[in-house]
Assembly symmetry: C2
Homo-oligomer: 155 residues x 2
């Protein structure tokens, strides 16, 4: 289910640039490259992340030190995979949804985990270049009274 809904005025160049922005995330995570990861965002981006609070914005969102601190919590070799990417693209507005896998080992442990989560990415073309203006990452949670995040799901 890797698909594209192409609006009337979308060019293949737009589509390639949109997909490249998603691959940047995968590549930046694998390379532990904080600058590369924050460079995807427009200055006014709003991100709903896996961890609280409800929303992240600049300046925190655009600070590579925050990402570096996050990487420092893991042993080397974070792995990252994007699956089922579906792109809906117009002339200057686009959104994607996909399933992402983060595999990592918390520092000081040997407990490697695989976490699958859902990602929705909103993009705008700003001065001719596509940038991420919104991102929403999440797991669902169990409604069995435990209110536990569903971190054991597989696509």
């Amino acid at each position: 289910m890797n698909g594209t809904h192409r609006a009337t005025v979308t060019t293949s160049r737009d589509e390639a640039e949109i997909r490249r922005l998603m691959v940047e995330q995968e590549a930046g995570m694998k390379a532990h490259d904080a600058e590369r990861l924050v460079a995807r965002y427009a200055p006014d981006a709003v991100v709903f992340d896996l961890a609280p609070p409800l929303a992240y914005r600049a300046p925190e969102l655009l600070d590579p030190d925050g990402v570096r601190n996050w990487f420092a919590g893991f042993e080397r070799s974070v792995d990252y995979e994007i699956r089922d990417l579906t792109v809906t693209a117009g002339e200057d507005v686009a959104f994607c949804h996909s399933l992402h896998r983060l595999s990592a080992t918390p520092r000081g442990t040997t407990d490697r985990f695989d976490l699958w989560f859902r990602v929705t990415t909103g993009m705008r073309k700003v001065d001719g270049a596509w940038r991420v203006t919104h991102e929403h990452k999440s797991t669902p949670f169990y409604m069995d009274g435990s209110f536990k995040a569903a971190i054991d799901l597989r696509p």
Copy 2:
């Protein structure tokens, strides 16, 4: 922070229709109107919901009986509120992000809860009418080892 990023070709009629689709959700929830809620979705919509699995699609997504069963789990008078709606709209592709509050009382209890969660909505104009083709609802979860959904956050 109720804003609109208007792409060059967006009309105020498009914007009004996009906002109407969000109000439909609020109104449909307050009215316990299952048909009204499922009518917002395009046939190929993909929804990342608060509860597992990772994704919902037709036919399950478009079945008003599923929504009716969900309402049946609560005492009368579900309340619903949408806050901080930000719309990014192009000619035929748009996305919104917002914070939603669901207040309800599980049937057979007096334990009324207020749950705030994040919502991202993707829309396409299909045959001249805006429809929801993607929706992502979530809470973050606590990364303190508990993996509990963060159901106590307030905007």
